[in-house]
């Protein structure tokens, strides 16, 4: 109760004399993962300013890797210290939850980020320009595409090493997002991870206009959805008189009465709750790419530099679903009968439309984008289960899915022709004959996407469908399985294309990557197979982590 009031005063009573504000009590140890990553980001910015240009690349990679690894170690230490279970607590004056789901998701995001650093740092895929190895990012982000400034930058061998601090900032925001325990922290986390992503999307070295178009679309639509989100926050504040999750939940359940005389008119007004809740959900559904808020995904996934796409597709989903779970299970459990049917509808639409639209795609990246939409639908099916199993199955699915996605996009970076990445599917014909290993690896990822047994995709899909069925959502499961069947078509079609079509004479070649991308792909394959062959340990892990603190 005291926590509520403090937070309340922090945000709403700033007009009062400054002397009455107590300095907030921060549990630095419990927040260490986030703090380490944000610290690494700031050090990265400083490095960008002070380290000589030629050694920046190495320094930035080192900072990013060290930062993510240290943060991951901190997550493990917290989990080992019992913070995932009995020691779970709300830290930072009620702003951040440190509990099982938060730690599990933070650990997943950090691992994804670690692997993403490898794909970001890859410099052996593009041919050398002016005697220098180049990565996937524009020589100078601010230069007009094709203009003299860009040409000069390319000639000077500039590289955008800022991507690493940007990545770190985004990861920092993503770490807070699923752990945020009040709506304003949630919103700030949303913006903290979204803004760097918008910039990252705009930084493709090839097809810069397309990349910038994607970034602008993402930014505009993201801002649009943020507006809904923020409006929803305002309405909920009007309803509950607080932005704290626990506080809102108590008002919803009726265990707490109005406390703020200024809001006496609106508090407890169900219309505010329902409309505000729906708008909040909409903001999160936009981030996970659920129908009908999905339309940005194919355009952005296609335009963004492929390493960014891989990271974004994997990590954003993890963070956003984490936040969605916490919102639905902590803030709105009292509204279960209101939100479940709506979420059912969204899940069904997302699964079906994602799968159907993917059928006619001809671009690998767009195909994977629609596939990610369909997968968002499958995960939503687990979210709607409204049981502890639902939480743990979603956690498992996210961990499994993120590595498959990361690996699949990493493979996409390898298949190239003169114009850069050859993403048109027709160019992938016969890839299995020319580069059997790469095609086989991609086939593994596709099979995992399709949910074929012995891959992580099957274990994850089984878990969410089981949870959904036990949660009473059998029709959802039936539609989910039908959608999976439709989805299997286009995954298998790519496999058929790769292995059973004649290679085109002028087709693309597979570039031999450096150890960086190879590691990323190998990690993807390893996680896919381990989670597929022996999922039980990780299912147990997710099961243990499946309780939200409140």
């Amino acid at each position: 109760m005291s926590t509520m009031n403090t937070v309340h005063s922090l945000w709403t009573m700033a007009a009062e004399p400054a002397g009455k504000i107590d300095s907030p009590h921060i549990e630095y140890a419990q927040l260490s993962p986030t703090l380490i990553v944000l610290g690494a980001a700031i050090i990265g910015v400083l490095a960008e300013a002070f380290v000589p240009r030629k050694s920046r690349y190495a320094v930035q990679i080192g900072i990013a890797l060290l930062g993510f690894a240290a943060a991951f170690a901190a997550v493990i230490a917290l989990a080992a210290g019992g913070h995932a279970k009995e020691e779970a607590q709300i830290a930072a004056m009620g702003a951040i939850a440190v509990d099982g789901p938060a730690l599990f998701l933070q650990g997943t995001i950090l691992l994804v980020a670690l692997v993403a650093v490898f794909t970001f740092a890859e410099r052996r895929l593009d041919p050398q320009e002016h005697g220098k190895h180049v990565d996937s990012f524009a020589a100078q982000g601010s230069a007009v595409p094709g203009g003299p400034a860009e040409q000069a930058a390319v000639k000077a061998g500039f590289t955008t090493t800022e991507v690493f601090p940007l990545l770190a900032f985004a990861v920092g925001g993503m770490l807070i997002f699923p752990a945020a325990n009040d709506l304003l922290t949630l919103f700030i986390a949303l913006e903290v991870f979204s803004l760097p992503l918008y910039v990252l999307c705009a930084l493709a070295r090839r097809k810069r206009l397309m990349s910038q178009e994607a970034a602008v679309k993402y930014f505009l639509l993201g801002a649009f959805s943020s507006a809904f989100f923020l409006f929803g926050v305002a309405l909920l504040y009007g309803y509950a008189g607080t932005v704290s999750y626990a506080g809102i939940a108590e008002v919803v359940e009726g265990t707490r009465q109005a406390s703020d005389p200024a809001l006496a008119q609106t508090m407890g007004n169900d219309a505010l709750l329902l409309i505000g809740g729906a708008m909040l959900l909409m903001g999160l559904l936009f981030k996970v790419g659920a129908v009908p808020f999905h339309q940005w995904t194919p355009d952005v996934y296609q335009g963004a530099p492929t390493p960014v796409t891989g990271f974004m597709a994997a990590a954003t989903k993890v963070a956003a679903f984490g936040a969605l779970l916490r919102l639905l299970y902590v803030v709105l459990p009292g509204l279960r009968w209101d939100w479940r049917p709506v979420m059912w509808g969204v899940a069904i639409a997302t699964m079906v439309i994602g799968a159907i639209l993917a059928v006619t795609q001809t671009d690998v990246k767009r195909l994977l984008a629609y596939s990610s939409v369909a997968h968002a639908g499958f995960i939503l099916a687990g979210v709607t289960a409204a049981t502890p199993d639902g939480i743990s199955s979603v956690l498992f699915y996210l961990a499994a899915y993120s590595f498959v996605t990361l690996g699949a996009f990493a493979v996409v970076t390898l298949v190239r022709d003169a114009g850069g990445e050859a993403t048109h599917l027709s160019k992938w014909a016969g890839l299995g004959r020319r580069s059997p290993l790469v095609a086989a690896v991609f086939a593994v990822f596709l099979l995992a996407f399709a949910g074929i047994p012995l891959t992580s995709g099957f274990a994850g899909k089984f878990a969410v469908f089981k949870a959904a069925a036990e949660g009473g959502a059998t029709p959802l499961v039936v539609i989910g399985v039908i959608s999976s069947a439709i989805a299997a078509f286009f995954y298998v079609r790519v496999i058929v294309l790769m292995f059973f079509s004649e290679p085109k004479p002028e087709g693309p070649s597979v570039v031999i990557p450096s150890v960086l991308t190879s590691t990323a792909i190998a990690v993807g394959v390893a996680v896919t197979l381990v989670l597929g062959l022996a999922p039980q340990y990780f299912l147990d892990l997710a099961g243990d982590a499946g309780v939200f603190v409140r």
């Binding site: 602008v216 329902l274 409309i275 708008m279 559904l285 808020f293 209101d338 639209l357 439709i486």
Partner: protein
């Protein structure tokens, strides 16, 4: 002692592994290794047998638990052995006859370049067959059951370069599959009924399962037995199986494997005792096959196929006896053992004749061979006398008891099955005499082979004749020894149970024995009139409709062709039609619908942020409206 049981199987299994994996370097010695291990297994059997004789009847069974195979919760499937008197009988028959046939094969397969492999398969067969009879549960029995099926397949098709052999092997395998299916269903039924596969609990609790369950299990076991033992309606593979080398026919398709069905029924006696309907089915199958095989045997000119028909018929006797219940179990097994001796001997004799006649199998091209192959003639002759039930030889005792037991069943059934058994005895005497006369007596009807050379019949080498002599001795004496003081009955009674049947009025034992001997004499006389007094035509006469049908195995393949092949073809054709028109229609229709939908829905994805924003706005509105609506209802 218990540890020896495992070694029974281990010895030939080791032989199979070594011979099949050992490669060319074993080509020169491998056959002796295989034969030696077969004899070693026989020696283990003898040791165990002597040990068993030292105990009293009720405490002779040995149990040996090797390891838990499939432990799932309360359910246990173990690799465990049980050696009781019934298993012991089989062990001695299998290893004894098996060893002799190994020895015989050393000579018979001398010129075959794949001899090492042949002995590997033979050893594999021994191991599987021994596993079948000493398993202490149905699941492990099933392993052996499939193992002998595999060995049989490999050996029938041993000369796989001959299309006929390859086809015969496939036929045997496929027909057996039907029976194996029955066994697996029976095992599943047992599991659902008793919760275990082990002989002990299943058979001890059989009466509690209720008659309908037992009948179902019994009929499925009968189906299994029909497949393995070539009983009607799954008999069609046995004749073709004669494509395998003759020692294989002797060991697998006469003496041992084909009797596994009888073992299965006798072993599962407690189940059949509680299911009279299943027993009746067993008897009907046995009686029908008894006549079927005998009639086919009368018409065949191929010596091995004639013997195959005879095998079918003799196993029909055993199955008939096994169907009689406790009156018949002992005699089924007794006939099985004596049959093992004389039929193996007859096959080896046939092989010896073929060996001397350039692999000719047509008896119309034999004749007058007794002078050229005296040992073969005498041993074959003794086997012949034994099988037709010549007084005081092996077949006489076992068949006589069997006919008595059939009559002792009483009522109409007893009369029917008894008469069939008697009729069968007459036909047996007829076709065996025919075979004897056509082969060893009469004019020489030898034909030149492809090279234009007449055959030079000669006696076979010692490795071949010694087994024949030993088996002939068994054919002569086994029945007498078994019958002495009802020794065999006392031996098996603790396992199978025994009930002395009472013959209905006005029958008595001497009358039945007399009838059996009379039937035999009639059969011999008829054959003498047809084939002894007149010369045998070198080309088969047309004969009447029955002869025609019998030559075609009583139309078994035609029936299978019409019912199964044509029926199957029609079924598949209609299924294919259904698949193309209906299933594919639905599938392609769905695919087209999804594709069309996809193409149409893509248009919404037009690349303009403004329309995306509109759709988001609309989506948000729907979301809010739906939430409010859910509250309202």
């Amino acid at each position: 002692m218990e540890s020896l049981i495992g070694l029974l199987v281990a010895a030939p299994l080791l032989g199979a592994a070594v011979l099949l994996c050992g490669g060319r370097r074993l080509d020169r010695t491998g056959h002796w290794l295989g034969t030696g291990l077969a004899f070693l297994s026989f020696a283990f059997g003898l040791v165990l047998f002597t040990d068993m004789l030292g105990k009293d009847g009720e405490h002779r069974a040995l149990h040996s638990h090797l390891f838990s195979w499939v432990p799932v919760g309360d359910f246990q499937a173990d690799v465990a052995f049980q050696l009781d008197q019934l298993s012991m009988t089989f062990v001695l028959l299998i290893t004894g006859v098996g060893s002799l046939i190994h020895l015989y094969s050393v000579g018979y397969m001398e010129h075959d370049e794949r001899r090492r492999r042949f002995f590997g398969y033979l050893n594999l067969f021994l191991a599987a067959m021994l596993l079948l009879v000493i398993a202490d549960n149905y699941l492990l029995l099933y392993v052996g059951w499939e193992g002998v099926g595999l060995a049989s397949y490999l050996l029938i098709g041993f000369w796989q370069h001959k299309p006929s052999a390859a086809t015969a092997a496939k036929k045997a395998f496929i027909v057996n599959r039907v029976g194996d299916f029955g066994l697996s269903v029976a095992i599943m039924l047992m599991f659902t009924t008793f919760g275990t596969f082990a002989f002990g609990p299943v058979l001890a609790n059989a009466t509690e399962a209720g008659e309908s369950k037992l009948t179902a299990i019994g009929l499925m076991l009968l189906l299994a037995a029909c497949g393995k033992s070539a009983q009607v309606p799954l008999q069609s593979w046995l004749g073709d199986a004669m494509e395998g080398p003759t020692p294989v026919s002797a060991l697998i398709h006469a003496a041992t494997m084909v009797t596994a069905g009888v073992y299965l029924i006798v072993r599962s006696g407690a189940i059949f005792n509680g299911a009279p309907d299943a027993q009746t089915a067993v008897m009907v199958v046995g009686a029908v096959t008894l006549l079927f095989g005998a009639i086919v045997g009368c018409a065949k000119d191929d010596i091995k196929k004639g013997l195959a028909g005879s095998t079918m018929s003799q196993i029909g006797y055993m199955v008939l006896a096994a169907g009689l219940g406790p009156i018949g179990y002992v005699f089924a097994i007794m006939h099985l053992v004596t049959h093992g001796f004389f039929k193996a001997g007859l096959f080896l004799g046939a092989g010896s004749v073929m060996h001397g006649m350039n692999d000719e199998v047509d008896m119309r091209k034999y004749g007058g061979l007794r002078k050229y192959m005296p040992v073969t003639f005498v041993t074959f002759g003794l086997g012949y006398l034994a099988i037709i039930g010549f007084p005081f030889l092996s077949g006489f005792y076992s068949k006589d008891h069997l006919i008595e037991a059939a009559f002792a069943r009483g009522a109409t059934q007893g009369w029917i099955f008894g008469s069939v058994a008697l009729l069968g005895a007459a036909i047996t005497a007829f076709y065996m005499t025919r075979m004897m006369l056509m082969t060893f007596f009469g004019e020489k009807r030898w034909q030149p082979d492809e090279n234009g050379e007449l055959p030079h019949p000669h006696e076979s080498p010692k490795t071949m004749t010694i087994p024949m002599v030993i088996l002939a001795a068994g054919s002569v004496a086994a029945g007498f020894i078994f019958n002495l003081g009802e020794r065999f009955v006392h031996w098996l009674e603790p396992v199978t149970g025994y009930e002395h049947g009472h013959l209905p009025e006005p029958l008595n034992v001497p009358l039945i024995t007399g009838s059996a001997v009379t039937a035999m004499v009639l059969g011999v006389a008829l054959a003498w009139v047809k084939y002894g007094r007149r010369p045998v035509p070198a080309v088969a006469p047309r004969g009447n409709a029955l002869t025609w049908a019998a030559r075609r195995d009583l139309l078994q393949d035609d029936v299978n062709h019409v019912v199964l092949v044509r029926g199957g073809e029609h079924l598949t054709r209609s299924l294919v039609y259904l698949d193309h028109k209906v299933v594919d229609g639905v599938v392609n229709g769905t695919a087209a619908t999804v594709g069309g939908l996809s193409g149409r829905m893509r248009r919404v994805q037009n690349g303009f942020v403004r329309s995306y924003a509109v759709s988001m706005f609309g989506g948000a509105a729907v979301l809010i409206a739906a939430t409010l609506f859910m509250r309202a209802v």
